[in-house]
């Protein structure tokens, strides 16, 4: 028996990008092996029916791998902690599923200003649009069409999630100001699809969804991918992508159950290990002919890390809003200040996204911004005034891609397989600080227009800790225009290694001012379509073609 497995395509990581990629490739009959360092999450692994549901988000369902400390997680070091999840589904296992699209202008930020490391995307919104549509249909988007602030989007699988009292209250505020707003698109079923149940508005999305209403890829893409015959190997942690004569030959992984090493050989390798895991793996894959890591001859792997620039602003009102009902994070959004207006003192813009709160314990413990109910005599009055009267406005800004914001390998820290931990350095650019500060005032204006604010607190500029923790982690292996400005060409093909592709959030050239997953999955679907149709060309390439020379779809 061969000591290795052979396949057409090897996909590394079973998260947002890897799930979409594996399904689409296997639809076309390609033989796919996918390696995932984590395991499956069962519906009963979610805390939604436990009396400790709120406390579990600080333990088993903490966003931070360094807090969870699960054996499948790798630790991270550096000046901030990324929020990522490990398992079949990746970080979609605990994402909020807000599902906006990037706007046409987002693909042309190099043309618009080119500040810091900003470049144009090698593709336009119009080129990506058909793949947004395919992906929306796969995941079952909830949508209300007709948003005048965006290009036309197709009908959703179901209607938009209901807005509840929070939606009405904040929508009225934006309406009074004459500002743009619209009900959020969500990757949440409002109508049953396959074996997934429609959302029942339970209000606790950020610990996954036991009804499988949220489109995490374990329930959206993986069932179909497995039916297509994809060989998904869990607890399989890749330690190195192998290369020979300028081409990738496959990868070596550690089986976390047995501790044994295995090799998979493949005609093409797709990395989708997220914006921290992908550069980490490429850097760990330094070998003969690739002394600084794979696909890194220009030194750009790991650079231009983006998190979005954030401020959370909690508001409490003098009337019941019942924010414990309905999908948690994105009720509606305003993109009144999305476009650059340099008279404000900065480039780029932001979305104001309205979210809700959790339950009683979270309310008593300060909601999102540390506004804690005091202990002792003042407790009852404070709690009774605050609980269920809350709305959150996220100021979600586009942060600049800055070269020194980057992922490197930590020389000392290791994961449970003895592989180096990633080290993260991230700081907000002056532009992004100004943007968020200005945005906070707009959030306040919107709440005042809604009327009856009794209290407000904020995370300040950057997040609860500064620098901000990243949960929209983007850009560390960006696609671009030339071998000098990026890690991949417009088909996600690395400039150095023609049969090595990168299709996760690390491939995003800029981050826009909206949540990234609908875009990164559209990019992954597009790249999958390319690999499917062009795998014979790719098999014969010894150098990666330029964007102009690459064969078309």
């Amino acid at each position: 028996m061969a000591a290795y497995t052979e396949t057409d395509v090897l996909v590394i990581g079973a998260g947002a990008g890897g799930g979409a990629m594996s399904k689409r490739l296997s639809d076309g009959g390609l033989k796919v092996v996918c390696l995932e360092q984590g395991d499956w999450v069962h519906a009963m692994d979610h805390p939604h029916m436990y009396d400790g549901w709120e406390i579990e988000r600080k333990r088993t369902w903490s966003f931070e791998p360094n807090v969870r400390q699960f054996p499948e997680d790798y630790p991270t070091t550096g000046n901030t902690t990324p929020y990522i999840f490990t398992g079949v589904g990746g970080s979609t296992l605990h994402y909020a599923a807000a599902w906006p699209r990037f706007k046409p202008v987002d693909f042309r930020k190099g043309t618009e200003h080119g500040v810091e490391g900003t470049i144009d995307w090698p593709i336009s919104y119009e080129e990506l649009e058909p793949f947004y549509a395919i992906n929306d249909a796969e995941i079952g988007v909830a949508r209300r069409t007709g948003d005048p602030g965006n290009p036309v989007r197709p009908e959703g699988w179901g209607p938009a999630s209901r807005g509840g009292k929070v939606g009405h209250k904040m929508g009225s505020g934006f309406d009074k100001l004459g500002w743009h707003w619209w009900p959020a698109d969500n990757a949440i079923l409002t109508r049953t699809k396959d074996a997934r149940l429609a959302c029942n508005d339970c209000g606790f999305c950020l610990a996954g969804c036991p009804r499988h209403s949220i489109a995490s890829t374990d329930v959206s893409y993986w069932p179909a991918a497995l039916r297509n015959g994809v060989d998904l190997r869990v607890n399989a942690r890749v330690e190195q992508i192998n290369a020979k004569n300028g081409r990738a030959t496959g990868a070596t992984y550690v089986d976390r159950v047995t501790g044994r090493r295995h090799e998979v050989r493949a005609g093409a390798v797709v990395v989708a290990a997220n914006s921290i895991g992908t550069p980490r793996l490429l850097l760990m894959s330094a070998q003969n002919g690739h002394p600084d890591g794979l696909a890194n001859s220009n030194g750009l792997v790991g650079t231009h890390l983006m998190f979005h620039s954030w401020s959370f602003v909690d508001f409490w009102f003098d009337e019941p809003l019942e924010g414990f009902k309905g999908p948690e994070p994105a009720v509606l959004y305003s993109q009144e200040f999305y476009d650059t207006d340099t008279s404000r003192g900065f480039v780029n813009g932001f979305s104001l996204q309205v979210g809700t709160a959790l339950g009683a314990a979270t309310s008593a413990l300060g909601t999102n911004t540390g506004n804690l109910a005091p202990w002792g005599a003042g407790h009852r009055g404070f709690f009774d005034d605050h609980f269920g009267r809350h709305a959150l406005i996220y100021v979600q800004g586009e942060d600049l891609p800055v070269r020194t914001n980057r992922v490197t390998l930590d020389p000392d820290a290791k994961d449970s397989s003895g592989l180096p931990a990633p080290h993260i350095n991230y700081g907000l650019h002056e532009n992004d600080r100004r943007l968020v500060e200005w945005g906070q005032h707009r959030a306040r204006e919107a709440a005042d227009a809604a009327g009856g604010v009794i209290d407000t607190t904020t995370t300040g500029i950057g997040g609860i800790d500064a620098p901000p923790p990243g949960w929209h982690i983007m850009g560390t292996c960006r696609m671009g225009n030339t071998a000098e400005d990026s890690v991949t060409n417009k088909w996600n093909q690395t400039w150095d290694v023609p049969n090595l592709f990168i299709t996760d959030a690390s491939s995003l050239t800029t981050g826009a001012a909206v949540n990234p997953t609908s875009t990164l999955q559209a990019v992954a679907v597009r790249a999958a379509e390319y690999i499917k149709r062009r795998h014979r060309d790719i098999a014969s390439q010894t150098i990666t073609p330029s964007n102009a020379d690459a064969p078309a779809l």
Binding site: G52, V115, C202, E319, D384, G388
Partner: protein
């Protein structure tokens, strides 16, 4: 499904806490109840923590002896028992004012421990069905609140969008072909790309 060979022992905290839960002595339970009652005094239609067994919740989230207290709330059995014993009968019988003074001292001098206990008591109290019922009865904003998000959810009591309000929404966006170069604010650090092209500061 999680491979149990990888998750046995102390590699993951069990969902819902450790069963059967740490069994405190009567004296220790009395101290903990007294602490909880000072943190969240009963009244105004809400029960006191000691009346509704917050202890059974807390007992599940204290790491049992022999298991490291690696996860929130980072309280280990032996440490908790020792601290409760140290407070002892004197704390329980000392009257509310004295208890508050002791707790203010703890908050000041041993803030890490105090915050852990406070947070755990808040979690325990607001998880109790009796408290949820009190919220349903006493708070207009809590009328529909349920002890857990699932299995019922809230679709039966959830308002939908106001079509009239939505019909008034205005907005626009920049088309691809309309994207133009902007004048970057003069005082903004612009980084290498524009400097190379001789633009900006």
């Amino acid at each position: 499904m999680t491979d149990l060979r990888l998750t046995s022992g102390d590699t993951k905290p069990p969902l819902g806490g450790w069963l059967p839960g740490v069994r405190l002595t009567e004296a220790q339970a009395a101290v903990l109840n007294a602490v909880a009652d000072e943190l969240i005094p009963g009244g105004d239609g809400f029960p006191a923590p000691s009346e509704i067994d917050v202890i059974s919740f807390i007992a599940r989230y204290v790491a049992p002896a022999g298991t490291p207290a690696r996860w929130f709330p980072f309280l280990g059995e032996n440490d908790l028992r020792a601290r409760l014993d140290a407070l002892g009968d004197g704390f329980v019988n000392g009257g509310s004012l004295a208890r508050v003074r002791v707790m203010e001292g703890l908050e000041r001098d041993e803030s890490e421990f105090f915050v852990r206990v406070r947070d755990l008591v808040y979690h325990a109290y607001y998880s109790r069905p009796e408290v949820v019922r009190a919220m349903n009865r006493n708070l207009p904003a809590g009328r529909d609140y349920r002890p857990t998000p699932q299995p019922y959810g809230y679709s039966d009591v959830m308002d939908d969008w106001d079509d009239e309000l939505l019909s008034r929404v205005r907005g626009t966006y920049t088309r691809t072909e309309d994207v133009r170069r902007v004048m970057v604010p003069a005082d903004l650090p612009v980084g290498p790309a524009r400097k190379l092209r001789g633009e900006g500061s």
